[in-house]
């Protein structure tokens, strides 16, 4: 049956039939709420991109949320240090599904200029699954907006049948690292007898 058969003629101007993926993704992509997780210098360019010259609000990101329970996109803006790493992972675990991560700046991609430091995690993708990488030190606000548009394209290309958050038995929670005597250690899993 085509659209001509399904919808009676008098309602054809009021009813639209579309694939469910298209509608579902349009709703999600057009209003992604970001988590303001500015750690270092890149945080400043993130804040500047919300101001009136670059205006992130026209992309649906009206307001940078502070609480992870209300956010969908985590901007990891700045260097992730080992002392901050447990908090980063804990905040990611607290965000509700579906969630995305955007690594902003050279430090979040690979450690950046501080890669050789004893307190620096070489890249946020050692701790979290990252979707978009935005290079720069710091990236211009226009580069950040370009990264967000790529994220929108990714969201619109997803399919509801293959989305990981609806599948059963997929463990999406990431173990929180702990402070060890010479660096970060992952928690040991306790086996219950």
């Amino acid at each position: 049956m085509t659209e001509q058969d399904m919808v009676p003629p008098e309602l054809r101007r009021n009813v639209l039939i579309a694939p469910i993926d298209y509608v579902y993704n349009l709703g999600r992509a057009a209003s992604v709420w970001p988590l303001m997780f500015g750690l270092a210098c890149c945080a400043f360019e993130m804040i500047v991109s919300v101001t009136s010259r670059y205006d992130l609000a026209r992309f649906g990101m009206e307001f940078l949320r502070a609480s992870p329970r209300q956010a969908e996109l985590m901007f990891v803006a700045g260097t992730v240090t080992k002392k901050m790493a447990p908090q980063v992972v804990r905040l990611y675990d607290q965000m509700p599904e579906p969630k995305y991560v955007l690594a902003m700046g050279a430090c979040a991609i690979s450690g950046g200029p501080f890669k050789d430091g004893y307190n620096v995690v070489p890249g946020a993708d050692k701790l979290l699954p990252v979707d978009v990488y935005v290079p720069g030190c710091p990236p211009r606000p226009e580069t950040l907006i370009d990264g967000i548009i790529k994220l929108h394209k990714q969201i619109r290309g997803e399919h509801i049948r293959t989305s990981p958050w609806y599948r059963k038995g997929v463990e999406r929670e990431i173990p929180v690292p702990e402070y060890g005597p010479w660096g970060l250690v992952l928690p040991k899993e306790e086996k219950s007898e």
Binding site: A40, I47, S52, A66, Q87, D116, R140
Partner: protein, 370 residues
């Protein structure tokens, strides 16, 4: 008949991630009801090992790293480092370079104070509106930086021995226009805020720091001058060509949050004075001393040089053993030392005042943790 309730103190955590825009800073508060009994700041969440990396780089490679210390006023950090190395190696930059440096650093100070006032008002509850005004004016400065150095936020413009390149032709007209419009912007901010009832009620007599306590804690910058101590490194130990300019030291009387706000507004006006004088007297000439061939190896010895950064006294202690890398590279950052006065200022206040007092101290976590 009055009955008293038996209560206990509560310990709460204002975690490293919170809506105030200062960055990853954690405080542990011990409260009796809503009054603060004790406050313990915990830092180190942005410790990026500047000092160790500084020992692995050579002297010239360290300049872009100093931009990342206080990332809101990057040129001041470069200025301090470059002056320290020039003192160690006895290099004298040309006159035009000295004037250009002063113009950049003082413009930086104006914008830093504007952003600090904007963030302080954000914490008062005025939300983003003053911040948007401050950041709009900051955009003009970012355009000037991009014109001169190529990058918006991390300019890396100062060289050991001068500045990286001459000012392009479009710089001077744009800079003159900006400086002419700045007093109007400062008036706009003042008209909105200084006589405002809410600012007065929430900021007067909050977070008082007496002058002898401020000196004992080692505080510098607007925090110290608002308490009534007339100490400014530009006048106490003049460096570069500050002794040729005519400006005043601004002081407060009481030492509360409102005084710090007024001191910052008045310092903006003094900085505009300095920039006007520097633009008027800008000489022609070279912009950098030519460097000798070969690797840069300053003589052995140690040196400490400090400047008046917008947040306080920024100093570099450098030890050289005659090789191309520094032997010890230490940064004395103003925000790290100023933060010790937080627990003194917050005792006996309410939780909502802590955020305002932190905003008035004006820290940048990149500098606190290095």
């Amino acid at each position: 008949m009055a009955t008293t309730l038996k209560t206990e103190n509560v310990t709460i955590n204002m975690g490293p991630h919170h809506p105030s825009t200062h960055g990853v800073f954690r405080m542990i508060l011990t409260l009796d009801g809503e009054t603060i009994v004790d406050l313990e700041p915990i830092v180190g969440y942005l410790h990026r090992n500047h000092e160790k990396i500084g020992e692995q780089n050579n002297w010239i490679q360290n300049t872009p790293f100093t931009d990342r210390l206080d990332y809101i006023s990057p040129m001041s950090n470069e200025f301090a480092y470059v002056l320290a190395v020039e003192k160690l190696a006895e290099i004298e930059p040309p006159e035009r370079a000295k004037y250009i440096r002063i113009i950049m650093v003082e413009l930086n100070r104006v914008i830093n104070h504007m952003v600090a006032v904007g963030f302080l008002l954000n914490e008062l509850g005025c939300f983003f509106t003053p911040m948007f005004y401050a950041l709009r004016w900051r955009e003009t400065l970012m355009d000037l930086y991009e014109m001169v150095a190529g990058s918006r936020m991390m300019p890396n413009y100062f060289w050991i021995g001068g500045v990286a390149g001459d000012l392009p032709e479009e710089f001077l007209p744009m800079c003159n226009e900006f400086v002419a419009a700045l007093p109007g912007f400062i008036d706009e901010l003042e008209r909105l805020l200084t006589e405002n009832e809410i600012v007065q009620m929430r900021c007067r007599d909050v977070g008082i720091l007496p002058p002898d306590v401020a000196t004992a804690y080692g505080c510098t910058g607007p925090l110290l001058r608002a308490s009534g101590v007339p100490y400014d490194v530009r006048k106490a130990e003049p460096y570069s060509i500050y002794d040729r300019f005519d400006f005043d030291i601004v002081m407060g009387t009481v030492g509360d949050v409102y005084d710090r706000y007024l001191v910052r507004i008045a310092e903006m006006r003094q900085s505009v004075r300095i920039v006007e004088q520097a633009l008027r007297d800008l000489p022609e000439g070279e912009t950098a001393t030519p460097r000798k061939k070969g690797k840069f190896r300053p003589p052995e010895g140690d040196v400490y040089h400090r400047i008046e950064a917008p947040k306080g006294e920024l100093g570099f202690y450098l030890v050289s053993d005659g090789s191309e890398n520094p032997y010890r590279y230490k940064i004395r950052s103003p925000s790290f030392v100023n933060l010790q006065a937080m627990s003194y200022m917050c005792k006996g206040r309410k939780v909502a005042d802590v955020v305002i007092i932190l905003g008035s101290v004006d820290i940048t976590l990149g500098e606190v943790d290095r």
